[in-house]
Each structure stands twice: as C-alpha cells, then as structure tokens.
C-alpha cells in the first residue's frame, strides 16, 4: 500500500492508501475528514467537490496517490472559522436544506468568485451546473453567490 503525503487545508498528512483509492475515501475513511461527501461515485453530482490548487474537482474520481504535491482545500479548510464571504452569505440567505451537497456547492462558488468577482446569473449557472442539489436550493444559491460577491468586495476594500 503506497505511503503518500497530502497537503490538505495547509497541513501535511502522511497516510497509506490503496493505489486506486480516490481522494474522497482517503479523506473520509483514512483521515476521518467527513466534510467531503459521497454522492454518486461517477463524477455526476458534485457532492464530493474539493479545491485542487484552487480548482473545483470531484474527489470521487481523483486517485489520492496523484494528489501529492497539490494544495487541497476541503470544506473544513475554506476558512478557519466559517468567515469566508461565501460561507457568510450562505448563512445570511439560509441556503441549506438537508445540507449534504452544500460543502461542494460552497467550494465551487468560492472558486468562481476567485476568478470572477461579480458573476451574473449566466456565469453562476455555468460554474455551478455540476453541483446537484436534490432539495432544490438553486434559487438561493444564486442569491447567496451575489451576496458573497458583495461581502468579498467589502473585505477587499478594507484591506
């Protein structure tokens, strides 16, 4: 079983994983980091989204052994205290219903705002369309991303 070192949320973790184990299961079963969720296992729901070097990727399809040397961000590490503009906006708009997909939604939204600080509906729909929400929170996701853009701009102004 290969030993690998993964840099997750700024911290190095050394672990043994089967060569074909996806990052999702390394996180969940080897490191007990359960914020990243299993939804479909075939890269069709976005529930397992993490950021790899800032890009949203579906961790159920990423072999953990190939993630060495990459910067991995999970929902646990997006901010130290839930104060990321996207997290704040998600709370203000009260986006979650069951909440299961929301970690993936938030990370995808955060990556979008990094590239496009003021996305319109079309840009939001394009960036978010690989993240399914069975509860149907899409209407609020659009609103929350726009609110997060405002928060991010305010934070930027202060700094």
């Amino acid at each position: 079983m290969p030993e690998i070192t993964l840099k997750i949320n700024g911290k190095d973790h050394t672990l043994d994983v089967p060569a074909d184990m996806p990052l999702l299961w390394a996180l969940r079963d080897k490191l007990n980091m359960t914020g990243t969720k299993y939804g479909c296992g075939i890269g069709r729901c976005g529930t397992c989204t993490v950021l790899v070097d800032g890009e949203p990727r579906q961790s159920c399809r990423l072999p953990a052994v190939k993630m060495a040397g990459k910067e991995i961000t999970t929902i646990e590490g997006l901010s130290a205290d839930g104060s990321h503009p996207v997290q704040k906006a998600w709370h203000e708009e009260d986006v979650p219903q069951c909440g299961y997909c929301q970690g993936g939604q938030i990370l995808t939204a955060a990556a979008l705002l990094d590239k496009n600080p003021k996305p319109d509906d079309a840009a939001i729909d394009k960036a978010m369309k690989d993240n399914l929400c069975r509860c149907g929170t899409y209407f609020r996701i659009r609103k929350a991303i726009k609110l997060a853009a405002v928060y991010a701009a305010e934070t930027g102004d202060e700094s």
Binding site: P18, D20, M21, P22, W25, R28, D29, K30, N32, M33, T34, G35, T36, K37, Y38, G39, C40, G41, I42, R44, C45, T47, T74, I75, E76, L78, D81, G82, Q87, W90, H91, E92, D94, P96, Q97, C98, G99, Y100, C101, Q102, G103, I106, I124, D125, K126, M128, K129, D130, N131, L132, C133, R134, C135, G136, T137, Y138, F139, R140, I141, R142
Partner: protein
C-alpha cells in the same frame, strides 16, 4: 388524517397536565404530554408519559430539545422556535438539542407534513408553562401579584416597581411551585401574537453545515468501526443460492464476508451478501469480484405494464364511488372532453445514499445511529428481525441528506444491525448510489382516463375517472391509491371513480405527498383542457369548480379559491406574457395545506425554459419564514425536476442506476421564484408536501399556452418537450 384543531387561545385537552422537576444538577425541567392509556390495552392503568422540551441551567443556559427527525425540512429550527416564542427567550440565547428516539416524546416522524400540526400544541404548552412558572416564582419572591409581572428576553419584570430577575435566578423557587393547569395557560396563536415566529431565521445547524462539521448519518465515526456493504438481488424478490464469500474474504481490506439468509419482507432484511472491511473503498473494490447466484422469478417490465394498462382501459374497472349518474349526464352534456394521462415510476434519489451505523454493546444493548424518518418503526423492524426486545435497542437520530419519504422505510437499519451483530464490531453500512436507486421504494406509475361533461356555461356537470394503477393480488400498494373522497369528488354533481389494477412486484412507497404528487398533475392539466373546451379561462373554470360543493365539501372552498386568486393577482394573470411565452395555473389541497402556482415559460421551438414560478400558500401562520420559503422553493425545483424523470423496469429490475441516467434538474434550469404566504388565523399546518403538488401542472399548462402542445405523459420528453 388528523383534523386541525380550531385555533383558540387555550384549547388543550383538559386532561393534559404538566410535570415539573428539578434535576440533581439544579436544572429546571418542564415536560408536557397527554394523559393516556398504555397502548394495546395491556393494562387499564392510565399512565403519564412526560415529553421533555425545555431545560434551563443555573448558569442561564437555555436548551430546547427538538424531538423529530431532521433531514432538510427545517424542523430542528422551527420546533424550538415555537418553544422559544412562548418561553419568552431570545433566539440567540437558545441551544437546540436533537432528541434520540424516546417514547416519552410521542410521535417522532418526518412524514405526511404532520410535524407542525401535531406538535403545535405541545410545543406551545411546553414554552408557555415554563414561562408561567418563572413568572409565578418572581411574583412570590417579590410578594407581588403575578398578574403585574411579565416575561421578556429571559427575564421576569415587575412593571410598577421596575424590579427584574433573570430566569436563571428563579429556578429554585419555580421548581417548588405547583404545576399549572394547562387550561389556565394563554397560548399564543395568531400571527399578531408573535415576536419570533414568522421571522426569517437561518437554520440552527448552519454554522456546522457550512464548515463541514455537521455529522450526517454517513459521517458517524466510532472507535474500531468497520465499513459494510450489502449486495441484494437486483431482480426484486430474488433468492440467494450461493456466493463466493470465501474468495471475497481473502481480498485486501476485507475483514468479513458472509451470506445473510434474510426474510421475505421486502421492506426489511432481504437475502444478500455482507462485505465488511477497514475502508469503504476497499470493500467496494472487493465487491466487484463478488459472484452471487440468484434464483429469480419476477419479470416485471415497463413495457408489460403499458400493455396491461391498454388492455384494462377497455374494461370498466371496479367502481369506488359513484355520485349521481355520469353516463346519463354525458348523454345530455353540451360538450364531452376525454383524455388519457400517464406518469412513470420515479425514485427518491436522496442526495445521501442510505447508510446506518450500529453497535451491539457487550451488555447486549443494541445502539443505532439511524437516518430514519420513522425511527420507531425502524426499531420495531430491527427488534423483529434480530429478536432483540425494543427496550434493549437505542436509536440515535442523526441528520440525513434528504428524505422525501424514502427513509420512512428502514431496511438499512435492519441490515446494519444484523451485520453489526454478526461481526461483533461497530459497523457503518454505506450503500452505493447504484444500491440506492436499485433498492428504492418507488413512486408508482399510473394511467388516468378522464371524461368530463359540460353544461352550456362550461361548468363540469359529470366527471368519470378510470384510474389504472399498480397493485398486488388485486389490492393497491403503497403510494398507488386514490381516496374516493378526494376532490373533484364532491365538487361535481355526477362523479364516478373506477379503478383497475396492474400486478406489480416492484417495491413502492411514500414519495413526497404520496399519490397526490403525481395525480395532481393529471387532474390539473385535464382541468385546463376542460376549461378551454368550455370556453372558459383556466382561472375562472377553477374558481367555478370551487364555488359549490355537493354534500360535505372535500376541502375548504374559500381557502382554495383564495390561494388561486392571490397567485393569479401576483402573477398578473390575464396579461399578455409576451412572444413565445405562456402562463399556466394550478391549485392543490393536500396534507392540510392550500397552494396555487402560476408558472411562466418561454418556448424556443420544443425547448422550454421555466422563467418564473409564483406560489400562493395558505398553511396558517408561518413559524420560520426562511424554512417555509425553503420548502416552497425547493418543492418547485423538485417538481420541475421530477416531471422530467422516470424509472423503468426490464426483467424485474430498475434500468436507471445513477445520476447519468437519472438526471436531476441543475441550477441552469431553475426558475425565479416568488412565494406569497397567506397568513390566516387557522392553526399552522405542514409544508413538506403541499407546495409540490400544483407546480408540474402549472408548468405543463404554461407550456400549452406557449406552444399548443398538451402534455399528457410524463416525463415531458415523451411529448417532445425539453425543459
């Protein structure tokens, strides 16, 4: 179904009473419940079972217990809000605790949109009684009449003297006071009474959800825990003949692999193979080498169902209700309209596939962490399957990723419990998405043959409905029936409901508003056809239908009409929506809620975009404005999504397996949504199901308005429409 109580200030069962106690820790606890007899007449002795909701610690910490399962419907925020409102404490000061399954709490079910109507009285009494005691305690300490005192923000104040005391400082005195008579409590009832209720309160668990800290069912982690999978026959009802478990046991990461004989109960522990190991991924990999020989007999197929439906359509079916004389009325009707509607099976597709964690303690106590919408029935199933008395089974309620009725079945509890006992280890069962879709309890398909007779004013004077549905041994099965009392019965003078049954071996079950979530689309689409055939506007036709009942009204005609009028007014019904656009309207009454929707679509050939959906909802006073709107918004997306989905069967098994061939709606197809609550003084009722019903027909009617294509079959694509 339970009838909502009239909304009066103090309407409690006079025999209800309260029990107050001081815990050893010094915390004041107030419980509430009903005086009742032990179930099943085991003894005539009447007993008091307290339901505990409120805890105030000496340090001022206020804890409110939420008793019901939470899977996204928002009850863990809404229920404690009701208690907090009546307790007169600030929401920011409230801690919420999830109760385990505990018989003292009474009904602990997320189903039938019954949480709110069933809990409303108990929750208010719990909060009000605690507040009442604290008020009396302060009055006693100050030597003033309690009528001169009032409570606010966790403090009792005495108006004339400006004295005040925090709740925490009054606990000892309050605990010694006599129990208040529930009949003396003035319960807040109407929107005008509320400070907290009706406001926009974000979910109590948001902070944890948004940082990945909230423990869902699949996230339970126990010391020494193993992961498990359970392979069952993809052909329903298959018997297990053999499996290569010896080989599976030799594979990396696998600790156990064994055959489970199971039972004949398709809702319980079915025959199968358990694979257990140190990581889920490794057992998933090992499972690919699993070879099982199944003996299967069932050959159900969607094509065969369809053939049978066609054959049955020619017959007369079993008449379930006949008011007046439909045939004679058709003969004299000015116009007769006929149409056939069909909808397919659909899956729950909970975002979190089924899972459950179990541990058999050395003491013999079995502990479960269950994502169940009905944990009590799950406990019963586990008890029956494993032969462990219910008193030795403890069920922790864990949050689950979506329910929609799927988790009213507890097959996963029986499986996890069995595997945990066999291995002697704490075990987490985790289904794959493919397991979840194959072994769902589907919403059943049905065909509706409608025939309406109109008089010269366009009014429906006869309605014949031949309902061809799924069943077993000539009886309907879970989710496949229509009540003969259901409107339009009672709204049309000559009404007939006939039923024919197709034999079906596929597991079915409750799916968000069982039955109604599907047939409301059929009825409300057909009404549009009838309206237009009679030369009436679809809104006017519906208001006409709701203007008169024959016998006892099957729904509150005024509330139903009013929701239609509000939706129409907010949507600007009657306006020209613009080129290639259409408006559609529909109404529903279900699970005690009244809802109407207006949808606006724009057509580009056969490609439709749902631009906006407007909802008018009357479920009485709103508890949490955010949670309530979330239910309405989510139901709209769910309904548009579901109208485009189907599960089909070949050779006794489901064909769809994952999100590549069961494609839930994505954000780019989600409409704008406007939600209007009509906050009447009626008692509040539930909202998990009512706002789903009239969405699909409003959209389908809008598509007709925009394109001239009448959708009589779901999914939409069967009519050549892409949404």
């Amino acid at each position: 179904m339970k009838t909502p109580k009239k909304n009066e200030g103090s309407n409690m069962d006079r025999r209800s009473f309260l029990k107050v106690s001081m815990l050893a820790s010094g915390a004041l606890m107030v419980g509430v419940g009903s005086y009742g007899t032990l179930l099943a007449g085991e003894t005539a002795q009447e007993t008091w079972i307290p339901n505990l909701y409120v805890r105030i610690d000496p340090d001022g910490k206020i804890t409110i217990v939420s008793k019901n399962p939470e899977g996204g419907q928002g009850v863990k925020t809404a229920f404690p809000m009701v208690v907090a409102e009546c307790l007169e404490v600030d929401w920011e000061d409230v801690n919420v605790e999830q109760a385990p399954l505990d018989d003292r709490y009474g009904r602990q079910v997320a189903g039938g949109s019954r949480g709110t109507p069933d809990g409303w009285d108990d929750l208010r009494v719990a909060g009000t009684a605690a507040m009442h005691l604290l008020l009396a305690a302060a009055a006693q300490e100050w030597g003033v009449p309690s009528a001169e005192c009032y409570a606010q923000s966790g403090t009792v104040l005495h108006k004339p003297s400006d004295k005040f005391s925090s709740y925490a400082s009054l606990l000892e005195t309050a605990a010694k006071l006599p129990v208040p008579d529930v009949a003396d409590l003035k319960l807040k009832s109407r929107p005008s009474d509320f400070k907290l209720l009706g406001s926009f309160v974000p979910g109590i668990d948001n902070a944890k959800i948004l940082t990945g800290q909230l423990e869902f069912s699949s996230d339970v982690r126990l010391e020494g825990m193993l992961y498990a999978m359970f392979e069952k026959s993809r052909v329903y009802g298959g018997k297990l003949l053999s499996a290569n478990v010896e080989h599976i046991r030799t594979l990396p990461g696998v600790t156990h692999a064994f055959i489970v004989k199971g039972t004949d109960d398709i809702r319980g522990l079915q025959p199968g193979v358990a694979i257990v190991g140190e990581s889920w991924w490794e057992i998933n990999t090992a499972r690919k080498q699993l070879k099982v020989e199944w003996q299967t007999t069932q050959t159900d197929s969607s094509a065969e169902y369809e053939k049978q439906a066609e054959a049955l359509a020619g017959g007369s079916g079993e008449t379930l209700r006949h008011d007046g004389d439909v045939e004679a009325t058709f003969d004299k009707a000015v116009k007769v309209v006929e149409a056939k509607y069909y909808y397919p099976f659909v899956s729950h597709a909970n975002m979190e596939p089924q899972s459950c964690t179990a541990l058999l303690h050395e003491s013999g106590k079995l502990e479960l962490w269950a994502p169940s919408q009905n944990p009590k029935s799950g406990r019963k199933l586990v008890s029956k399957t494993l032969g462990i008395p219910e008193s030795r089974i403890h069920v922790n309620q864990v949050r689950y990723g979506g329910g929609f009725g799927r988790r009213l079945r507890n097959d996963f509890m029986a499986e996890a419990a069995w595997i945990a006992r066999e291995t002697g280890k704490p075990v987490q069962l985790q289904w794959t998405r493919e397991d979840d879709m194959a072994h769902d309890f589907f919403r059943p398909a049905a065909w509706h043959h409608f025939k309406a007779g109109l008089d010269d004013s366009g009014r429906m004077i006869a309605f014949d409905h031949h309902f061809i549905t799924m069943g077993k041994d000539g009886e309907t099965i879970s989710g496949s029936n229509i009540s003969p009392k259901r409107y339009p019965a009672g709204l049309v003078p000559n009404y007939r409901l006939r039923q024919s049954i197709i034999e079906c071996n596929v597991p079915t079950g409750p799916w968000r508003a069982p039955g109604a979530s599907a047939y409301c689309w059929a009825y409300q689409s057909f009404y549009d056809e009838v309206a237009l055939a009679g030369g009436l506007d679809p809104l006017q036709f519906r208001l006409g239908l709701l203007s008169k009942s024959y016998g006892k009204p099957p729904l509150d005609l005024e509330r139903a009409s009013n929701t239609l009028k509000v939706a129409a007014e907010k949507a600007g019904w009657g306006r020209d929506p613009g080129p290639n656009r259409g408006l559609g309207i529909a109404f529903a009454y279900g699970h005690l809620g009244y809802v109407a929707h207006v949808a606006q679509v724009v057509a580009d050939g056969s490609n439709i975009r749902v631009e906006k959906v407007i909802a008018a909802v009357d479920i009485g006073p709103i508890i949490n404005l955010s949670g309530a709107k979330n239910q309405v918004e989510g139901a709209i997306v769910d309904a548009i999504s579901t109208a485009q989905l189907e599960i089909t069967f070949v050779n006794g098994a489901a064909r769809q397996s994952n999100f590549h061939n069961y494609r839930l709606l994505k954000i780019d197809k989600a409409p704008e949504i406007e939600c209007h609550f009509i906050q009447s003084d009626n008692s509040p009722t539930g909202l998990g199901e009512p706002p789903f019903l009239s969405v699909a027909p409003a959209v389908a009617n809008a598509i007709f308005a925009a394109t001239g294509t009448r959708i009589r079959e779901l999914p939409f694509k069967r009519s050549g429409i892409n949404v």
